[in-house]
């Protein structure tokens, strides 16, 4: 297999250019699918036969929760790539994921709590799914705190990458918590064998909302990572040329 694309992606000017081209595409597609998902979820989808209109929190809760774990997986993968191949761009991407991931973990917890109150009768329960998601919030905050505490970027990259990789153990725990333990949280709706347990009128807006969140995440990570690359490479010649400064 030809791996040149991989090494090219690790070149900061190349990454900077490609990311700049991808951002508007991700942002516009996120906006379009987001609006479609919102209309579908809040207006077109029928009420649930058990939860009535209250279930509509699903259209923000599930995408936020999915994104919170996806952002962690992206962060850990990028951190691992950065650690193994000493790729500065990968570390920049990893560092860019943390804040967004933390905010979406927080969002998943709060919207879940707001959904739990009317349906379970409580805002919070030390349930395996909820607790493991909370642990992930602390992992994100620990990662950000660790990076912030180390001045030397290369050392911060390595130390935080190790933390991110250790925290990966929490991802399968979050995912399978509803199977492994007797959880108050409902089981899998989408990722299960056979058909998803939702009619298309409810499912399609959910998938659109998830797509919107993922594209939104990609756009924000790329914006942040471009800034991060500029910061790391600030003395490089390509930046002076790129910014049009006389050299």
């Amino acid at each position: 297999m030809d791996w040149t694309w991989f090494h090219r992606f690790g070149s900061p000017p190349h990454f900077y250019r490609i990311a700049g081209k991808l951002i508007p595409w991700c942002a516009w597609l996120a906006a379009i699918s987001g609006v479609a998902g919102l209309i579908g979820g809040l207006v077109l989808a029928p009420p649930d036969y058990q939860q009535g209109e209250g279930y509509r929190i699903i259209y923000v809760h599930v995408p936020a929760a999915v994104l919170s774990t996806m952002a962690y997986a992206t962060m850990a993968t990028a951190a691992g790539v950065g650690l193994i191949w000493r790729m500065n761009v990968a570390h920049a991407v990893a560092a860019s994921c943390a804040g967004i991931g933390a905010s979406f973990t927080f969002l998943a917890l709060v919207t879940g709590s707001l959904w739990g109150r009317p349906m379970w009768g409580t805002y919070w329960q030390w349930d395996p799914r909820l607790t493991s998601e909370l642990v992930m919030l602390f992992l994100y905050l620990g990662y950000m705190g660790l990076r912030g505490a180390i001045d030397d970027t290369a050392r911060a990259d390595r130390a935080s990458a190790v933390l991110a990789l250790v925290g990966v153990i929490n991802l399968p725990i979050i995912h399978y918590s509803v199977d492994w333990w007797n959880s108050l949280h409902q089981g899998h709706t989408l990722l299960k064998f056979g058909k998803p347990s939702m009619p298309p009128s409810m499912l399609v807006p959910l998938l659109l909302a998830m797509l919107a969140f993922v594209l939104y995440f990609a756009a924000i990570v790329l914006v942040r990572a471009r800034g991060e690359v500029l910061r790391r490479e600030r003395n490089a010649r390509w930046i002076a040329e790129l910014l049009g400064a006389p050299s």
Binding site: G54, I57, L107, R224, L230, R234
Partner: protein, 57 residues
């Protein structure tokens, strides 16, 4: 319209969820743009000062 806003009585849970989501989405855009802008300005400043003549100092 009022009927829809009431969300079958679940409005105190549904609308705060959507509002908070909107807030998180907007803040992430703002922070990301601000941080990228700062990096850009900083890089531009460095590039210009590196290109400037060093004679006077």
């Amino acid at each position: 319209m009022m009927h829809w806003l009431a969300m079958g009585g679940y409005w105190p849970y549904v609308w705060p969820s959507y509002l908070l989501t909107l807030l998180v989405l907007v803040l992430n855009v703002t922070f990301a743009q601000r941080s990228a802008q700062r990096a850009r300005m900083d890089a531009l400043r460095r590039a210009q000062s590196a290109a400037a003549p060093q004679g006077r100092s």
